[in-house]
Symmetry: C2
Subunit: 149 residues, 2 copies
């Protein structure tokens, strides 16, 4: 399951990508736009900033803005940050491998084998999708759902 934190983070970052990197956006505005509890969002944005994904400005006219180009921010990084490794089991993780205590031989473990496939499939999607490409996809999808003519 994707946590609310990760979900809110993606939504907020997408909104910031839409907003552009010229001027910052306030927590309160982001919260209202994306229907996220403001105080909770505050925590999330703080985390994203400490990870270097966001920049912030204090005081009047302040707020948050993307620290990098939307094409260089991948969903994989966001999800890992809030929900940990993508792999369903630690022994199948590429970025945070931990062996199972109860596993004698990983090479002969069906769970390991299958979950490694799941992790690879998930990583392919999330590490292959940037904020920029996701925006494009959304745009294309909305074209299809409400055509101009």
């Amino acid at each position: 399951m994707l946590s609310k934190k990760a979900k809110y983070a993606i939504k907020a970052l997408l909104a910031l990508a839409d907003h552009g990197r010229e001027e910052p956006m306030r927590i309160a505005d982001l919260a209202r736009k994306e229907q996220i509890p403001a105080k909770f969002l505050e925590l999330i944005l703080l985390g994203l900033r400490n990870q270097g994904m966001l920049q912030s400005r204090k005081g009047k006219g302040g707020g948050y803005l993307l620290a990098r180009d939307p094409a260089d921010i991948y969903l994989g990084q966001i999800v890992r940050m809030f929900d940990g490794p993508l792999a369903p089991v630690p022994c199948a993780s590429q970025t945070a491998y931990v062996p199972c205590a109860d596993c004698r031989n990983e090479a002969v473990c069906g769970v390991h084998l299958a979950m490694k496939e799941v992790r690879d499939a998930t990583a392919k999607v999330l590490d292959g999708t940037s904020l920029a490409s996701l925006r494009t996809q959304v745009e294309h999808a909305s074209d299809l759902s409400s055509p101009t003519r």
Copy 2:
């Protein structure tokens, strides 16, 4: 994350597939073989039986055995049974769709779009892997890791 229940279930079912469908296997033996707390495994096997994946026999010479051919038992069914839908968010689930309360328009939601891809990728793996095919994979993998000559 895969729950321990789902993980133990897969391991137990694999062991039962190895064991063959001629005679049943006792909880205690399964627990020892797979390093699973016996009382906990008991609960899991009971669930699998109530789902029709296992058959049981009481009394002496009793135990559990697969109710179906290993080629007809898919990881997707097992995982869904213990951990719920494969999709990271309910609005991306095929088998248990629930819309997000905070989502105005699903067609324009980046989270929805991306997570639908993740769920499809996961489902492709888990609904495409049966106990039988997983056994084959494990066999092949162990051939590679410890060759005969």
